[in-house]
Subunit: 552 residues, 2 copies
């Protein structure tokens, strides 16, 4: 697919030519009623691009490098919002109150340097932008009124794999490469990064690093953090480039200071990342449990066993039922092992034994033991593939299709959002009970009545020896035209619940602007002082992505 | 062993009552000639404590909390130096030019807070001190002349396991707990941290965290970094305490900013660390290779296989011969798997297959498959146990006994030191050839002739999918009385070699004061700016461990 010839929707998910038809949305509306139990009184249409009201740009591109900029209507609108429910619903309704004045498309670290200098000269806020898939307000120019101009730096033209080291299994990749772009280039070398967040299609390596994205692996290399070997970034004070090292003990890790820095210190230009051979050995199985708690105990044993499965996602019964993943009314553990080196039958068998010991009923093991990846395997994480009839496929399909579906849910008047965290095992049962209760109460209080009972479900996205990362999905009838207020009320309540009960405000969605209030309660104060001082030193004007993470 | 009744030597390794007898040192002298080929012209005696010249303390403890302080001769001398060869040889000769004025023994985070305030009021430098086993000048008051006083904060009285969470497999431990102290307390719960650096006996949890210590595991959890769940530290601006979280994506990790900070930002008071059940399944084997390069290729395959052995140490032939670990003239891979959960026969068998495919000849597999830890297993990492007759035991014994042996080598006029790094696999062969050549040349040039040929050997201490951590050992006839100059010359040459060839100045020995020159060439400049700004904010007077890592 030549992405250059296609344009992404100016709101919501996917390309413009992927909009579902009126009939398809009608089918989704019927499914909303049949499967979720929500009455759909009307299917709305999104506000078209040309009907969007847009303030004039307050800044002109400099003549010297005008070719790097766009002040085009589409570009400015498309870079105005991220991809939270809050963003999608505003985009749907044509509300883009905070567009950037200019969108710049750097093609090299040198361009980035020039662009940052330009922003500094103009006092303009500079927002690094990868795939724009932030669900926490990470790319939204909400600071627009406090700066004479806002320039969004879209790294999309920096999308190449620059170098591959097949000996060390590492690759130097530009920050703007999306999941499919970098996998496509790595495939020529028989290698893969295997970092498949839900946003895989559009999100970028630089964005993953800046936000500590969570990926494919349920254990061990759960975050992109673990796959970063070195980073090259551009600051207002020059280049920040770390050495390529497999490990080091030389002071606090420079990379770890950039990983998760959300663009406040530097713009990530490229990184050496750890890649691997494509796994020829893959087994997966769905294991049903009578309840989530029993499944959680099985997951705890597996997470502490050292078996390190690549997949170990536990869905509660409601979530499993919503995605038709497992037997009705049961919690479902999606368990998978993979290797490029050797068969994985033994660890699978040990893990299934552990699951059985906690009351789990495994289904049929699916997978390949040894053949080479075939054509069907070539396309990683197919976003719209039809689900197979086994639980693992069903879950995978629902996972990848969710962002597409959400756009239609907005049209049908359904609020759909997620929040996620991590907590140690000892506190998990009480934490989960408390968060579920407060979330259900808050969603019910914030949502219209009489159109169906809101649903709050949970799954584990990643697990650690010392605790799981629970991920909660909220589905509720929306207050038509008042969705943002409804969302804000729910968001505040569930975030309070998570922070009060000892969790983190985010396991892998980042902080951005939407999580700030709770992040500020979470991080140690002297650490915030240290980070603020570091930012002030590198960005004395405070122009780098102002408003995320920390105030100057 | 009630450590309170014993005193550690004021120089070198071990307790005062562990000094080898004249006869034992004589035996070592003969072994030096027989095994290393170095002529020993004289066995010297260390300068006794009362013959050490010591300046008067420049500061009096405040009356209010005088009981926290010591100005005792022994205490001040014993806290003057770390445990590098450079330190041991100076201690041996009675050279302690930079003693702290006072040694303080805090018993709580509150004491630390009071002590830091006292230092700030006096403008005194404050040096956090765990086991004092730094081999990079990390605890030496070399800044003495630039401050009105120096106070060393010895955390030795903060040595308790405060809380154990058996569900999440985590424990809250005070920073001053040594390896044996914390293992002894965890053992009551059937748990273990399994962090066994060579300094295990004396080094402390806080020291490990502050210096990013490398431990037991050759793969995965190679550094203490990976075992830290949260940290409580005391800054001059108040407490820095992170949440207990199994994982998080909320901004740059606060813990990762303290891990490796070497006392320049805060004093670590305690930490929640990830512990585990004691492994009942353990297998190990020695695999001989004709040459180091073939062994390295086998290790690369194993490191990239996802098998994640707990031990995967490759010794070159010289190092294997020196420690009598393997068959003469062969490189030796010490390979081990362990689990508390399930047998490890299959991964061992797959890894041995990989080793064989690269020409390795495995010896007999040793270990237990399933029985409970017996009395022999109770004492982790016995430092002076007699070696068994198999290669794995021999290597382990040599590893743990090395610091004891070194004291006697100083008496015999043998220079003995190590340097270590990490490098990606693609660069490793050239890197290793270059570093070996330059090291051998530098050692030969710096050492006296006619007393035997210096030896430079190498092993891998830790390995990663993208590269090994090579560890070099230097043994040479010493310039009697001029050892420090000899060492400094060698240190400069090998450090240049490592940095010029693309490595890190340290994989797990830290930066301290001795590695500063090369660290400054390694770290990204804007990162140094950021770290400096952070330090200035938290420690405006620049009193926290001045001279390590970075200048204000």
């Amino acid at each position: 697919v030549a992405t250059a010839t296609r344009r992404r929707k100016h709101w919501g998910w996917g390309f413009e030519d992927q909009q579902p038809s009126r009939e398809q949305v009608g089918g989704i509306a019927r499914a909303v009623t049949d499967r979720l139990g929500f009455a759909v009184d009307e299917v709305e249409e999104p506000v078209p691009l040309d009907a969007v009201e847009l303030p004039e740009p307050r800044l002109k591109p400099p003549k010297r490098f005008a070719e790097l900029f766009s002040a085009d209507r589409y570009d400015r609108v498309a870079h105005s919002l991220g991809k939270a429910y809050r963003d999608v619903v505003r985009g749907f309704r044509g509300e883009f109150p905070n567009p950037p004045d200019l969108v710049a498309y750097p093609e090299s670290p040198e361009d980035l340097d020039v662009l940052l200098s330009f922003c500094a000269d103009e006092g303009a806020a500079a927002i690094p932008y990868g795939g724009g898939t932030s669900v926490v307000g990470g790319v939204e120019p909400r600071m627009r009124d406090r700066y004479p101009a806002v320039v969004t730096l879209d790294l999309g033209r920096m999308d190449r794999v620059l170098e591959v080291d097949p000996i060390s299994r590492a690759a130097r990749i530009q920050a703007g490469a999306t999941g499919p772009r970098l996998e496509e280039q790595l495939r020529e070398h028989g290698l893969t990064l295997r970092h498949f967040p839900q946003s895989f299609e559009y999100s970028t390596l630089g964005g993953w690093i800046a936000t500590r994205a969570g990926g494919h692996f349920a254990t061990l290399d759960t975050h992109i953090d673990d796959l970063v070997e070195s980073i090259r970034a551009v600051t207002l004070e020059g280049e920040w480039e770390s050495r390529r090292l497999p490990g080091s003990g030389a002071g606090p890790s420079p990379d770890r200071m950039l990983i998760g820095s959300e663009g406040i210190l530097a713009v990530i230009a490229e990184a050496w990342v750890r890649v691997r051979e494509r796994p020829g050995f893959k087994l997966s199985v769905g294991v049903a449990f009578d309840d989530f708690a029993a499944g959680a105990e099985a997951v705890r044993e597996i997470a502490q066993s050292g078996l390190n499965p690549s997949n170990c996602r536990l869905l509660d019964a409601l979530e499993s039922d919503t995605t038709s993943a497992g037997p009705p009314g049961k919690a479902l553990l999606v368990l998978g092992f993979e290797s490029a080196h050797h068969p994985v039958d033994e660890p699978m068998s040990i893990a299934m034994g552990a699951a059985r010991a906690h009351g789990g009923e495994p289904g049929e093991i699916k997978g390949r033991a040894g053949e080479q990846p075939g054509p069907a395997e070539r396309r990683e994480a197919p976003p719209a593939a039809e689900p197979g009839d086994d639980p693992v496929d069903a879950w995978r399909h629902a996972f990848l299709f969710a962002p597409y579906l959400r756009d239609s849910l907005v049209a049908c008047g359904v609020l759909s959002d997620t929040f996620e965290t991590a907590i140690t095992w000892d506190r998990f049962p009480d934490f989960h009970a408390e968060v579920m209760e407060l979330a259900e109460r808050a969603v019910a209080a914030a949502s219209p009545t009489g159109r169906g009972k809101p649903r709050v479900s949970c799954r584990f996205t990643h697990v650690y020896p010392d605790g799981p990362a629970p991920y909660y999905t909220v589905l509720a009838p929306a207050w038509r035209g008042d969705e943002v207020a409804q969302w804000d009320e729910i968001k505040a309540a569930v975030s309070d619940a998570v922070i009060d009960a000892g969790g983190t405000i985010t396991h892998h969605h980042a902080v951005g602007r939407d999580h700030r209030r709770w992040y500020d309660r979470q991080r140690p104060d002297p650490f915030a002082d240290a980070l603020r001082a570091a930012k002030r030193d590198l960005d004395p004007q405070g122009i780098l992505n102002p408003g995320v993470l920390i105030d100057p």
